[in-house]
């Protein structure tokens, strides 16, 4: 029976040119989106390769300059720049990179909004952490046309276009009484017909996902399966939603308006509303952090220096015995000033990032009201472009900065120089990215719950038609 229904549904689908065009358009949009995501990530990879190469060159120059001929003026200057921690602390740059995963091109998420790399020196962290790549605000406003966009925004429209007259169309064409005389109950018939639409929509999901995986050399692993599962569950939610609206047995025009109303509610109104509420509930005042991100300026007079040293040695008495009057004290002054400024700014910066995290948590806890927001967040999470990874990267970056700071500050305060051995064990950043599967499972469970409840309601309601 199911084969027969699917066969005739396929014929009916092929006869409707508008639907076929939309279906083909979905594939083209998907292929464009895959190409777009791939190009965006390739651009980021090219920038990453450039900064990695620049860092490698920098340290090979440093190693070379440790062997420089110090009898010449130039040789001595170069040598001093490498051995003096007071100079190296501002001149040497260390990369921290948040590498894209093989799945990031699928869903670019927050990847364009937040910086994916930093070039840090040992000076004040907060002066350096808020820098980002240049980007056209018009593009940020429009958002990315990636594969997740095609799945989240366009697939539901296709389902709506195919299904809004599932029952009403039969009534309006006069075929409804005929169908009632068939061997299969109307409820089963319409459920199978909806099943056909579900199967038809899942085809581009699977094909485009595999194509994206192939283009981006993504491995066939748990994440790809999770991506497919979330996308398919999302399609199921929409099919169930459409089936439920259809079960109310209204006219095609009513169904179309109701379905598009739900689409608008889930995809435009709910995200905008959640963002507005979270922004209002957890406000972020950029001007508060503007002081913390400025260059450290200190009073270099004798009295000014004395004040900073006294304050710093009260915090770190272990360095006090090494204090000597020296022309390099300005470097110490700024290193200490930078650390103290960071210490002072830390609660403010922490509250800034806490507010971002709280906003995200709020949206995540409320996204149960919109399967679209839920699915988008899940796809971002699977792709490694979710805000939670960015916040985690930021925490790791701060810890790494502390390592760089000590790498230069410790010998500086102890009046020591840096050697080749020190550079051999210099700090190196490697981001640890942890995927919490429970987040994915919970999200999938929620989407599955939506689909089951909606389908159950629709199936129950269909009994009455």
């Amino acid at each position: 029976m199911i084969q027969l229904i699917f066969k005739y549904e396929w014929k009916s689908f092929c006869r409707n040119k508008l639907q076929v065009v939309f279906y083909i358009f979905l594939f083209f949009a998907g292929i464009y989106a895959i190409g777009y995501g791939y190009r965006e990530i390739e651009k980021q990879k090219a920038t990453i390769a450039l900064i990695v190469e620049n860092e490698r060159e920098q340290f090979s120059r440093i190693t070379e300059s440790l062997k420089a001929d110090t009898t010449t003026k130039e040789g001595k200057a170069v040598y001093m720049r490498s051995v003096m921690p007071g100079l190296g602390r501002v001149q040497h740059k260390y990369n921290t990179i948040f590498y894209p995963t093989p799945f990031t091109a699928f869903s670019l998420g927050q990847r364009d909004l937040f910086p994916y790399y930093h070039k840090l020196n040992s000076h004040s962290l907060y002066m350096q952490v808020f820098k980002n790549e240049m980007i056209n605000p018009q593009k940020l406003l429009a958002g990315n046309l990636d594969l997740a966009f095609v799945f989240i925004y366009l697939l539901p429209l296709f389902i709506i276009a195919m299904s809004y007259s599932l029952v009403s169309g039969e009534k309006e064409s006069g075929a409804y009484p005929l169908l009632k005389t068939g061997a299969v109950s109307l409820r089963e018939l319409f459920a199978f017909r909806m099943g056909f639409r579900f199967a038809l929509t899942v085809i581009p999901v699977v094909l485009l996902s595999f194509f994206a995986a192939w283009i981006n050399k993504a491995p066939f692993n748990g994440l790809l399966i999770a991506w497919l599962a979330v996308s398919v569950l999302y399609v199921a939610v929409w099919c169930a939603m459409v089936f439920l609206i259809t079960s109310f047995n209204k006219t095609s025009a009513f169904n179309a308006v109701a379905m598009l109303g739900v689409w608008l509610l889930f995809l435009i109104v709910a995200p905008a509303f959640l963002n507005a509420v979270s922004a209002n509930k957890y406000p972020i005042n950029q001007t508060l952090i503007s002081d913390a991100i400025r260059r450290v300026q200190l009073d270099e007079s004798e009295r000014g220096q004395k004040e900073v040293f006294e304050k710093y040695y009260a915090l770190h008495p272990e360095y006090k015995p090494y204090h000597i009057e020296s022309p390099y004290n300005l470097a110490k002054l700024y290193a200490m000033g930078g650390e103290m400024k960071d210490l002072e700014s830390r609660p403010m910066i922490k509250s800034y990032f806490d507010q971002i995290a709280l906003r995200d948590r709020f949206v995540s806890s409320c996204n149960v009201v919109s399967p679209a927001v839920q699915a988008q967040q899940l796809l971002n999470y699977i792709a490694g472009s979710d805000i939670r990874y960015y916040l985690d990267y930021n925490r790791q970056l701060a810890a790494f900065h502390q390592e760089i700071y000590l790498f230069y500050a410790d010998p500086l305060y102890k009046n020591k120089t840096l050697s080749e051995n020190d550079y051999a064990v210099r700090p190196r950043f490697l981001m640890k990215m942890k995927v919490e599967w429970i987040t994915i499972y919970n999200g999938m469970l929620m989407l599955g719950g939506w689909a089951l409840v909606l389908w159950g309601l629709a199936y129950w309601k269909m009994k009455k038609i």
């Binding site: 777009y36 190009r39 651009k43 090219a46 920038t47 450039l50 900064i51 620049n54 070039k119 820098k131 980002n132 790549e133 240049m134 980007i135 056209n136 605000p137 018009q138 593009k139 406003l141 429009a142 958002g143 990315n144 046309l145 966009f149 925004y153 366009l154 429209l157 276009a161 809004y164 007259s165 309006e172 095609s252 025009a253 179309a256 308006v257 598009l260 270099e300």
Partner: protein, 307 residues
């Protein structure tokens, strides 16, 4: 038929007006700028209102025209909604993405390296900072007709700082101009898309008139940068004319000097600048209204014959 379509469109337009008119009236009543008698805010709101009237009229007319062409209410609704999705969601995103692909922005790494390189080696690559510094010292000695720095009536450190500041500003201007040109090229595509997409037209006009678009941001940025340069010049000149060489780390401004520091005064770009920058969008909107009226006039006959 032409009159019927137009009459229907006007009826819907009146309904839309019933919703939007109170909103614009509310703007007049509650915006503090109006109470201050700001002519600029008044003309911006009036223009915004006029642009939205055109936009809504265009939408009402197109929707009624589609319903006249479509065989039934179902098709009419579907086509209208498909147009909405295309024009409001898909086209704006696609155009912004394609234009960013066509005119890619350089990375910060490349941008910063190019600036550092130009400052270090000179814009032409043959004028290194050391040489520029030496040339400046020679030129200053010559200007004041003295043989040594100690004989100069000005502090050479101040002169060097100001000249270096001016040179680096030149380099920054050069590179920022390139970036802004890329942004302009990208945004040009968005402007041209307004020819087929009234949503992009009204969005850009809205942002331009409300001073929330990229052009307004760049205008503010330039004003702030001009002020910064003026302020730095004030400080450097003070050092040049009021201190002696070798006092770089010890010279202090007179306590009354800050009273002479110029105050940052910002004035919004004129309204005509927003109109000029969004002229394609404005013309597209006007042309859209005219074209749809012509199209209805031309197709009305066919519609009445077909039905």
């Amino acid at each position: 038929m032409y009159r019927l379509i137009l009459g229907r469109a006007l009826a819907y337009f009146t309904l839309v007006l019933a919703v939007t008119l109170p909103l614009f009236l509310g703007t007049f009543l509650f915006l503090p700028d109006f109470h201050n008698g700001s002519q600029d805010a008044f003309s911006r709101t009036m223009l915004l209102f006029a642009a939205y009237l055109m936009y809504y009229f265009l939408l009402c007319t197109v929707v009624v025209w589609i319903s006249a062409l479509a065989g039934n209410a179902k098709s009419s609704l579907l086509v209208s909604l498909a147009c909405w999705v295309c024009f409001v969601i898909i086209i704006p995103k696609a155009v912004a993405n394609i234009s960013a692909d066509a005119y890619p922005l350089i990375s910060n790494e490349v941008f910063q390296s190019a600036i550092s390189e130009d400052i270090r080696k000179g814009i032409d690559g043959h004028n290194p900072d050391e040489k520029r510094r030496e040339d400046l010292i020679v030129a200053t000695l010559k200007k004041y007709k003295v043989d040594s720095l100690s004989q100069l009536p000005v502090n050479i450190e101040g002169v060097i700082m100001q000249t270096a500041e001016e040179y680096s500003s030149k380099v920054y201007d050069l590179h920022f101009e390139q970036v802004q040109q890329t942004l302009r090229n990208q945004n040009k595509w968005v402007s041209y898309s307004a020819i087929i997409n009234p949503y992009n037209a009204i969005r850009n006009i809205s942002m331009g008139l409300a001073l929330t678009d990229v052009n307004s941001h760049i205008y503010f940025q330039r004003s702030a940068e001009a002020y910064r340069r003026e302020y730095v010049k004030f400080l450097n000149d003070d050092m040049t004319y009021n201190s002696k060489a070798g006092t770089f780390f010890t010279y202090k401004l007179d306590e009354n000097a800050y009273a002479k520091v110029p105050v940052f005064k910002y004035s919004y770009p004129p309204v005509k600048s927003a109109l000029q920058k969004n002229r394609i969008e404005l013309l597209s909107l006007i042309a859209g209204v005219l074209v749809i009226l012509l199209v209805i006039r031309y197709t009305a006959y066919k519609i009445s014959v077909a039905q």
